[in-house]
């Protein structure tokens, strides 16, 4: 059984933000919600690294563990989905998630947050029929049901963002690391060329 994951190769990410654009367009994500974001570390300094983050589809997902209505579920592909019909908008998943993945459409007084929204791994919703209009409007597209990977990773121009079965993408990443010459060379250069 596949266990789907994202893996962002920070050596390759060029902060073009195309993954965000792809995600927003494919899933009709409303204003104010970013299912995916690119964070640039040490921006403008030597050793600058960019990394694209979204829901990591954790194996032991903290959001799932704290949800008071137990509306999260993990699919057989290892994708963590949440049911917007059951969601009460309490914000607990947002407290628990280390990556800031859960997003809320509203942010108003008296705890009005609306239904939580997060990356679905382009796998639609847990309770809607695959590819139905209801699923499209509620959760966005269901590419996984069509045998396609999430669009953010598929569109990545430098192939920095990898999506797929965790064994396969980690193999891809490992072979890249080996070809780059193993350990630290490209990371945290202290001087430009050798000594």
């Amino acid at each position: 059984m596949a266990r789907m994951k994202f893996l962002c190769d920070a050596e390759r990410c060029i902060e073009c933000n195309a993954c965000i654009t792809a995600c927003k367009n494919e899933n009709d994500v409303p204003w104010g919600i970013n299912r995916r974001r690119v964070v640039t570390l040490n921006d403008g300094e030597p050793g600058e690294k960019s990394i694209s983050v979204a829901c990591m589809h954790c194996t032991d997902a903290p959001c799932q563990a704290v949800c008071p209505v137990d509306c999260f579920s993990t699919t057989s592909d290892g994708v963590v989905l949440h049911n917007k019909d059951m969601c009460i908008g309490c914000g607990y998943c947002f407290y628990a998630c280390p990556f800031g993945a859960p997003q809320f459409p509203q942010n108003e007084a008296f705890g009005v947050r609306g239904k939580m929204d997060k990356c679905t791994y382009c796998a639609g919703g847990p309770e809607t029929a695959d590819g139905s209009a209801e699923e499209e409007s509620k959760y966005g597209s269901n590419r996984l049901a069509e045998g396609k990977l999430p669009l953010c990773a598929e569109m990545c121009s430098t192939k920095a963002l990898l999506a797929g079965d965790s064994d396969q993408i980690s193999q891809t990443f490992t072979s890249r690391v080996m070809q780059r010459g193993g350990r630290p060379d490209t990371w945290g250069w202290s001087s430009a060329y050798g000594e």
């Binding site: 933000n17 965000i20 104010g32 970013n34 974001r37 690119v38 964070v39 640039t40 570390l41 040490n42 921006d43 050793g47 690294k49 990394i51 983050v53 903290p62 563990a65 704290v66 949800c67 008071p68 209505v69 137990d70 509306c71 019909d85 059951m86 969601c87 009460i88 908008g89 309490c90 914000g91 947002f94 407290y95 628990a96 998630c97 280390p98 990556f99 800031g100 997003q103 809320f104 942010n107 108003e108 007084a109 008296f110 705890g111 009005v112 947050r113 350990r183 630290p184 990371w187 945290g188 202290s190």
Partner: protein, 364 residues
């Protein structure tokens, strides 16, 4: 015979010598195999230390810093979006799921069992002797209204809060996830909205009741005797006894924590930091659970635990015999007849023959 014997010993010693030679050769070979690489080992260690690569991996330091909550630039305008990893949510998860929930449940269960056990073994506290039939005012209309507003809002918020905390474990197996989600949504809305009347009423209750809940000298004796819960005595007290005062101060402190943390939690539009919300949630659930547990004791005492107490908060009036037994100093003050010291004496005599005490009350 001798010759042949010599021959065999010669042959035996030769074999022994050969075996020894083989053994030593093996030992020497083994020594070479084991020891030969050691100088090279020393050499590599030297070069590695000189370069300082293995002792300080820049890559691990870089990502270690990010793991500890470092942040960078992002086009995402959401608060804290530049923060890649914030693992304090994991602490919150463990505290909420594995510490606060089970210990809170045990605390409430313990109080319930203690109250039920006390009721079964000791029974309700009755007014000793006959009721005088004469009533005196204990709670005016404002006191009663504000008490019941606080009580009802507190009760509804306790139930809705408990449903939000324990519903997943207790109610989902009963209603199913879909059924429970509707209830939880309702509870969340009620909990969020009812906080406002609760907060206002609590402040309006605490302020006027403050002066009657200051600890005084007689409270030490009352506490030492546990308010006569176990020995049937009636230690003297003013308008509120030490137990009521402790409940008042618990409610004041816990209620303030609940209100402040609740307001922060219910105002996501003010964009509090994630760590602030996590801290507030822990404070909110801990103080809520403690107050719920203690309120069970208060509810028992105010309803079936002490005869006459409930009517006091409904009609505002109590029987003079009840007042004399439970709040002798306050009773004396109300009558305006005796000094506190004298009242204390009369309170003690009230545990004497019933007829005497009733007689005295009706006389007054």
């Amino acid at each position: 015979m001798l010759n042949s014997e010599n021959n065999t010993t010669d042959e035996g010693s030769r074999r022994k010598r050969r075996n020894r030679r083989i053994l030593w050769t093996f030992v020497a070979m083994w020594m070479i195999v084991v020891l030969a690489p050691i100088p090279g080992y020393f050499m590599t260690t030297d070069t590695v230390q000189a370069k300082g690569e293995f002792t300080d991996n820049p890559r691990s330091a870089y990502w270690g810093e990010i793991r500890q909550g470092g942040s960078g630039y992002t086009t995402d305008r959401a608060p804290e979006a530049g923060n890649l990893v914030n693992d304090s949510g994991e602490i919150w998860r463990v505290l909420r799921n594995d510490t606060i929930s089970p210990y809170g449940a045990w605390l409430i269960a313990f109080i319930l069992v203690a109250v039920a056990g006390y009721f079964m073994f000791a029974g309700p506290m009755k007014v000793e002797g006959e009721l005088s039939g004469t009533k005196i005012k204990r709670w005016n209309l404002y006191d009663r209204c504000i008490h019941w507003i606080v009580a009802v809002t507190f009760f509804v918020m306790s139930i809705s809060g408990l449903i939000l905390l324990y519903g997943r474990a207790v109610l989902i197996p009963l209603f199913g996830r879909e059924g429970f989600a509707g209830l939880a949504m309702f509870c969340k809305d009620v909990h969020d909205l009812l906080g406002i009347p609760f907060a206002v009423a609590l402040v309006m209750m605490i302020l006027p009741w403050l002066k009657d809940n200051m600890f005084r000298s007689e409270d030490a004796e009352w506490l030492a005797k546990s308010g006569g819960m176990f020995d049937g005595s009636h230690p003297s007290s003013g308008k509120n006894n030490a137990g009521e005062k402790i409940w008042f101060w618990l409610l004041t402190i816990g209620g303030t924590v609940l209100i402040v943390s609740g307001v922060i939690l219910v105002m996501p539009n003010l964009e509090p930091l994630r760590n602030t919300m996590i801290t507030m949630h822990i404070l909110h659930s801990v103080s809520g659970l403690i107050l719920i547990a203690v309120s069970l004791g208060h509810t028992y005492m105010g309803s079936i635990g002490v005869e006459g107490a409930f009517n006091g908060m409904v009609t505002g009036e109590v029987d003079t015999a009840w007042a004399k037994q439970h709040h002798d100093l306050w009773y004396a003050e109300q009558m305006g007849e005796e000094a506190p010291a004298k009242a204390k004496k009369s309170a003690k005599s009230s545990s004497g023959p019933a007829g005497l005490s009733t007689g005295k009350v009706s006389a007054s």
